[in-house]
Symmetry: C5
């Protein structure tokens, strides 16, 4: 689980964009992430219109044993560090090693690969955890004839609880549809969560906007910069999804029925909307820095005006009093009876004149 909180500490940017084994042969199934090794946990859900059962198998063999014909099986694998188990599972279901490699490589970008008997997809789950931090999770989905396999990093948090609930409570059409509908429903959950993340970005933009308008500090610029990077990175993870769904809709693979394509069209709509929104957020975050700069310039202007007014008023006055501080033997004004008061008069006139001048210029 990689966390990146936009407005929080700036240090945790160890989330390298690039994760790649080097020198190894392609097709080697190795976990490519930062988590500690632990056993994968598997949850199985099996259902059709008539029944629904859930269980937690201990081994690959046990999975096979339990599943019955005429049902849809949802195999949910949480934890990607258990390479041996996942390799075994892949072999059991006849998956290409390249697929498993991509599944375990959390640096892999979103993709969809069609094989003869299954469709494989990599997506990125984005959600806000209980501390309102953005969490990025790598997700592998495999659609087979009558089952769907899900590989996720995180065993605890589960964005698929909604789908699970719908299966249990027989809400909507999910119990009456095939594995492809389940595949869609899971994908749809992932996309739904993107909206939450976008909403959160929107909030950040508005907060920063307020800050820029009210009380911009150098820290504000750094926050804007972080936001821009955040949007760039999220965009990179989400952007390909539209293209991928669009390919699913156009595929002639019989694994995806015409009915499900209707729903995928809806998901396509959503991903188009997400991309457009991200584009708008990108422009807004760029605008923020412009606003910030214009605000800095305004402040500078204000500072300069204060200085100029103070200096323009008092420097000439100081000159005048300096004149009568000179020690010449012959300075007639010094001996005038009202000389002193006369000087005050002149200075007050000058002072008022200056004020009027700056008032006219709209500086005060």
């Amino acid at each position: 689980m990689r966390k990146s909180n936009i407005l929080g500490k700036r240090k945790s940017k160890k989330v390298s964009l690039l994760q790649k084994k080097r020198g190894k042969a392609p097709g080697t199934i190795t976990y490519m992430g930062n988590r500690e090794k632990e056993r994968s946990t598997v949850k199985i859900m099996e259902y059709n219109a008539d029944m629904e059962q859930e269980f937690t198998p201990k081994s690959v063999a046990e999975i096979d044993m339990h599943t019955k014909p005429g049902t849809i099986t949802w195999i949910d694998v949480a934890g990607l560090t258990d390479e041996a188990f996942i390799e075994k599972l892949g072999k059991e279901f006849g998956l290409n090693p390249l697929i498993l490699e991509d599944t375990l490589n959390i640096g892999q970008r979103p993709k969809i690969d069609e094989y003869d008997t299954y469709i494989f997809g990599i997506f990125k789950m984005l959600y806000l955890n209980e501390n309102n931090e953005l969490v990025l999770e790598h997700l592998g989905l495999v659609l087979l004839d009558d089952s769907v396999m899900v590989f996720q990093e995180e065993p605890l948090h589960d964005v698929f609880d909604g789908v699970r609930e719908r299966i249990r409570s027989k809400t909507g059409r999910i119990r009456y549809s095939g594995a492809d509908y389940l595949f869609f429903a899971l994908l749809d959950s992932v996309i739904d969560n993107y909206f939450v993340v976008l909403e959160n970005i929107n909030l950040n933009i508005e907060t920063l906007e307020e800050e820029v308008y009210q009380n911009p500090t150098p820290e504000t610029a750094i926050k804007i910069q972080q936001l821009k990077k955040e949007v760039l990175k999220i965009r990179r993870l989400i952007y390909p999804v539209k293209e991928l769904i669009s390919r699913l809709i156009d595929t002639e693979n019989p694994l995806i029925t015409k009915d499900t394509k209707l729903f995928l069209r809806d998901a396509l709509d959503h991903s188009v909307e997400i991309n457009e929104t991200l584009q708008i957020y990108r422009e807004m975050s760029m605008s923020l820095l412009e606003m910030y700069m214009s605000n800095i310039s305004n402040k500078m202007n204000e500072v300069m005006k204060v200085l100029t007014i103070m200096a323009s008023i008092f420097i000439p006055l100081t000159f005048i009093v300096g004149v009568y501080g000179m020690n010449f033997d012959h300075m007639p004004e010094l001996h005038w009876k009202y000389g002193y008061f006369g000087v005050w008069g002149v200075m007050i006139l000058l002072f008022v004149g200056m004020l009027i001048y700056f008032r006219r210029k709209n500086w005060i």
Copy 2:
């Protein structure tokens, strides 16, 4: 009805760009907006070349009862919060639940979906209300064989009054044409209103331009920023329309006749024009901020010049009078008869010299 007045208070930006139910099954018909629940009101208009009648049914059954064959029926549903009614209506006319879901989801972007027996479109109505505030309304249009269904949010304001009037007064070809022409006429009304909104943006740009040239304040920058956001958002709502109309023109669906396509080509022209205009407005609003910045810089320059002139003239003079304020025992000038007046002479020369210098530099 979501109002957003560009130049007014900046607080009402609760118009979330993203509205989405999460965790619910796709196809669930739920109102996704901020309005209070109220009953939908339905207005029916039935006409052909020979007759025209209007009535307000109380129930779905009543609609069916009244409509006669050989006529075009325009069913206008105002108010999208009455989910039960709309679901019933949808079933009566055999509409896919996904359509109704999109109709009630006011966050849904513009789209056109073709089904076997009907064409469904989502558009965004934009108009200025009586207070000159921009109002955004979600609009669903369904074209069936001999009827058109309209779903709009707002029961009161009606941008379709013009069309209604043309039907009543038998103006133009509308009474002699099919349901597809009515569909076009409604779409055309919506697009016509976009022009009013654009005109209003244009006015705002010109007002701000004047403000930037004449008397820019930090508030001006905020207004420019608001304008940019406004244009971005409107563009997002209007932009897809061109593509959608173009698809209507290319469709082979028999619901749209060749004659109506000729008119749609005209509407396409208009939407191309709107998109180009929005593009120009976008560039103009970006230029505004540049102008603003250059203006701020100019003002700063002016401030600095005043300061520099005042300081450069009086600081040296103050130094001179300081010299003769010193208390050395042996300062021959102090005892010269015309020492004091000599110093004044020198200072006046310096003063005039400085003025000439700054004049030459074009600073004063």
Copy 3:
């Protein structure tokens, strides 16, 4: 005739980009511009390889009466406010009302519509009038089997005089070619005028460039902004032409012969060149503002340097003379014989040292 002089008064921006009737039925033939109503004037030119005659008919019927078979007829209608006359003319020649609507709507963007027996085009004529002001004129062209109809706004100025002259003097191939060549020749005249307009923009850019380099004032920024808007608007009017000509070349409509397409290819070349040039002008005008800003910054730098030099030299000196203006009882220096001259010495050293320092820094 809408005039917009880039560098002249900024007030005449009433040239609304958007002109549209609202609430009216599509196909209504109404003049959509700002001119006063007046009668259209018609000039007919009839020619073939052997003969050429010109006349000015008083009514639509008269046109028909005069034209003979075996000739090319050029019907030139000047003045678009005479709706009744134009509608009658359209009916006589069997033109679709939508065409006439576009012809009279001076807000209509350039377009080409092909019908079975004629091709209709809307273009924008741009030329400099005798006062060197940019004039924009709306132009409708209809190519029929053996005639060309021209609708223009302005009865006086005529950019088509060159073509008329070539017909009269039998120059080039025009008298030996069909109506499509005449259509091309008129279009070619319009495009030729675009080059004059571009040349004029180029001149404005160079003038402004000179101004930015030599003596930029806040007015300069406004002029640059106006130029940018001007280029944006002209681009919008000219840009579609390339696409339209390219469509004429690809058409399979027999109205346009293979020979004329060769010439249209040449016109296409020109419109590509115009678009590229406008693109370059756009970038240049954006560069102008950058240059302006960098110039303002340079000036500010210069101002600041003057201030800093003056202040840095005289403030310390003033401090020194202040020291010896103090009235302490025990200030030994005051009583030294050469104290006063010693202080002068120190101050001159300081002064020279400062000068050397600033010289080294390349400030003076």
Copy 4:
């Protein structure tokens, strides 16, 4: 020959981008440039694998007389002002007048037109002359069945000398190949020269970069601007070449053999590289101005720091000495024995304190 030296005098920008005759009939063969009229000079080179001869014919008839069957003839026409001669030559070889018009119109952009029996191309030759000035020359190439015609503006300088040498010395495959290989070889020479021009731009960029880093003056900004314009203009002349060569490779015209296409593919590679390089230069020149601006800001910062340090140190000290310059009757400090030295102590402390403060702020 139009010269434009980037870093030299800025006055010679009379090189109008747009050259076009107005009011003339298309197809009129007129020279459209700024050169003085002079006779064209023609050089003929005739060769095959066995022989090679060169001669300079005095008339069009003489050309025909000399050429023998079974050879490749290279007809090199230098000087485009001799309209009569070129028209005659064109007729002799059956060239379309439109071709000759484009050849003589030095404002014509690069193009390739295929006719039934020949292929015609316009290109722009760019090279540095002996004074290192950039020279732009208009070039027409015609590929016929067994001959190539070259039309160039400049009789003296010859970028084709390399090709001529290869023919004479029988280097490479040129003597064993057809006219299409000669056509390619000439085009290749032109493209090779583009690399020299690019290298020169690169040099200018590096020189300016050095200037921006070391010693930026307002002149530097103007030079950067000139460079940007230069790159824009060159790009416009070179950019289309890639597309044109790509069309030559895809053509099914038998004039170009499969073998030559292999070589053209190589030329295509080069033109892609040139376009990419120009793109990079464009971005670099834009970066230059940014760097310049950041440098100006840095300098301003430095200036301001000097001012602030001087003022912040000496203004308070001046205040202190001012205090003891007051003439109150009762000022006890004045009569203290060590009052004067005490004040000096305070002032030195203040001075040192200030220095430490600014040191901490990293200003000095």
Copy 5:
């Protein structure tokens, strides 16, 4: 081996982007780089599922002698200056001279050319050497029926050691696959190294970011500029790879089997990822300069505030003490008993008032 260290000395930019022989006939095999002439060294690796042998032939003839049928031969040529040897080798294997020309021209951009019996590719190897300097190496790959030829510049460093090791140790499928898999494996090694280079750029960006936030100096701007150029240049070398691999996947050439295409699809994924990452780095490096500028502005603001505060406080006070330094005969305040202390009171009040004022303004 051309080294370019981003953050190191800026002088070594002699890496001309453009390397091209001029005036020579196309197809001439000449080394186009900066290295000293030296003999090429050749390493041969021959293997199949059953055996593996390596040897270093002394001549071209020796290569032929050793290779046996039924094996895959990997011919690795290091050093591109030995033109004669490479020409001989090319002839022996029937390679087109154009290929060898491209191989020796280190300025050649990445490309793939398919011939009837072999596929030829140019790529750019990028890696960090032991001193962490970026090294760019030109690489030619030829895929023949049962052998792969590799041409590299640098005899010492070898990014292909990993592949060699896999062959020796029979890791993965390489020993069981054809020459096309070897070709893929080499290409994959090259792409893997791109990731290291990207990681290094990422590090540089983060270092600069830190510098911009903490302690920006004019040097920082130069470093940012260098980084931008570096990214531009690397992008230019890497960008085409995606397109080339995509063409390899689409080819119908039997040299590349369907199995290997599956692996190439993986390599395509990686190159897409690299391009996206470079795009992000480009945007980030542009953001860096913006941040730098905003930081400079902030610093200026801070400087100005210090100046303004100091001047605004002490200039008025200096004026006051100046007043009582005047030498008028009649200045009643001078003779008041508590005059002096009263003045101090006024001045302290003023001082405190000023402090409060600036505090309120949030300046201190």
